[in-house]
Amino acid sequence: MGAITLGHYVGLAVVLFFIGTVGVLGRKNALIVFMSIELQLNAVNLAFAAFARAHLKMDAHALVFFVIAVAAVEAAVGLAILVSIFRRRETVDLDDMTALNE
């Protein structure tokens, strides 16, 4: 076995991002979609960290922290919205939330 190269990291990130994308597009449960979005974000984070390591530059780390912060906020707000929706409608199925198309 050779050493773990940049290619391995990026490959893993691509796979994670793809899984996340399939989850976002395919699942109907809003909570699962949320988790998939987190997966996408972390895939990107992984890619950033890998490139930062490879090029020995710290800039990308700043972006990573930024993404983590935004993801935390997004999760807090999004989950609060979902709880409210669930209280009103007793469902978190995305296909039931189409009121705006009228």
Binding site: T21, V24, L25, V33, L94, D95, T98, N101
Partner: protein
Amino acid sequence: MSVSFLWLIPFFPLLGSVVNGVIALSTSHRPHAAGRGAVSVIGCAAPILSFLVTAAAFLQLRGLPVDGRALTQSLYTWIAAGRLSVEAGFLFDPLSCAMLLFVTGIGSLIHIYSIGYMGHDRGYARYFAYLNLFTFSMVLLVLGDSLLTMFVGWEGVGLCSYLLIGFWFGDEEKAIAGNKAFIVNRIGDFGFLLGIFLIFWALTGDGKVGLGYGEIREAAHQHRFAPGLLTAACLLLFMGATGKSAQLPLYVWLPDAMAGPTPVSALIHAATMVTSGVYMVSRLSFLFIEAPVALTVVAIVGAATAFFAATIGLAQNDIKKVLAYSTVSQLGYMFLGVGVGAFSAGMFHVVTHAFFKACLFLGAGSVIHALSGEQDIRKMGGLLKRIPRTGWTFIAAWLAICGIFPFAGFFSKDEILWKVWSEPNTIIPWLPKLLWAVAFVTAGITAFYMTRLVAMVFLGRERISSEAKSHLHESPSSMTIPLILLAAGSTLIGFIGVPEFIVEGGNRFHHWLEPALAATHGGGVHVAHGAALEAALMALSLLIAVAGIAAAWHFYLRRPELPGRIAAAVPGLYRAVAGKYFVDEAYEAAVVRPIREGSRLVLWRIVDVRVIDFAVNLVGMLSRVASTFVRLVQSGYVQFYAAVILIGVAVLLWVML
């Protein structure tokens, strides 16, 4: 000479206006709780302080050598746009000094009078806010050192005039009178503005143009204006004056302006604002003197207005309407004076007229106040015994306007008459004699209708309704003291302009204004060979004034049944005069109704409904139709949107990489 205190003159009234305006707004829901004492003090202190500063400036100006008699103050560069570079600045020269002294002086008296007259009104603070704002605008008009500053004041006084005519806007008729004054003034202002544009256009050379009086004067001296252009510019400026100063054909608003409170009629529509047209022509005398055609038009319009309005004044029965037509007529006199190139004579009449007409209007206000709002002179009579202070001051002003020696009107009216006779006209040689004849007859008519007014109000049999009689009282001293001061002024002010043939150097007013005005071609006041002629004409005009008074005395006191019989003998003529020659009706038919009907049928039914509304509706309809298709994309399925985003990003990446 540059000084730094001139800004105080307009500043005090502006401050008073702002403070009183704030008081008026903050107490509008409980008008009787408003601090009337504070409003009175602020409202009256503002013009009085301005007057004191003006007086101080006058004393300083008098100490200067004749050639350098001008105080200036430059504030800042007001407009800088391309070739136009206007300084905001003030010019205090003998002309603006003479104007300002009586604007702030008589203005102060009228403010004080208003304390008594408006004492019971709900809009007390609002009234003083407007009145202070008017004083500010008028000071700006007079004190400004360029045409544009004058224009700001010009519009400001127009606005205040509108606000104060429609002061009791709850009464629809009064609100309409305010609108009429504003709209008619706008017609004149349009010409005024075009005149300014023309002058700007003519001055645009290589350098910057500031539209300052000094600059225009310089250009006029160097003959940089083409004659035709100069005549056009002067005529357009005079068109503004016909609106503001109520001359033919735009005088119609002034009689209706009597809907405002009486002190307003005295201040704005008799003493100050309406004379600003005369001031403007005098201020630009060096321009008008180069345009003899325009000047001749000014003289003809002035004489025609003087005669025309005086005849209407003969048959009016509202005390304020008589005075209003008298004002129009006297303004005509002033324009006749400046129109023959006798600018100082015109300005002299402005000053004396300010005293006696303010006194007459305030006296009329006192009469109306005493009679609980009655304005019909047929329901007055014998009031001299009842309200003696008002009566005797009114009589002093009456003698002044009739031109009886030694009252003020005698000197100023005679100077105009003499100038009209003696100044040659280069375009129409026989015109001076004709104009003199018209002015001479007008003097007789003036004496007649003013005597009629005095006779019907103060003398003869009492015709007062019993209800008004029970409340009959002399006005408070805040009203009678200004009256007494104005009556004293009407009696004495004429002595600042004694004709030169009586006392050498006696016409001090003329010599005072000399450095600020263009010299007349006839050689100023010194016409050596004309002394005997001048004395003869003077005696003649005194004679016709006395004749007018005697005739009216006979008609309205000795044989009061005669006027009715004469009116019955020439019913058509009487109806025409009493109906003001139906000018209002003619304007209504020729101008107002076509505009209104045209607006209704063409502008509203076709342009507004068929074009503008249609275009707006069309846009709405188009977007609605388009959106019925576009909205299908907005399905509401979040995952559909996410997929679209993904596809979009993929396409972008594919294109970019």
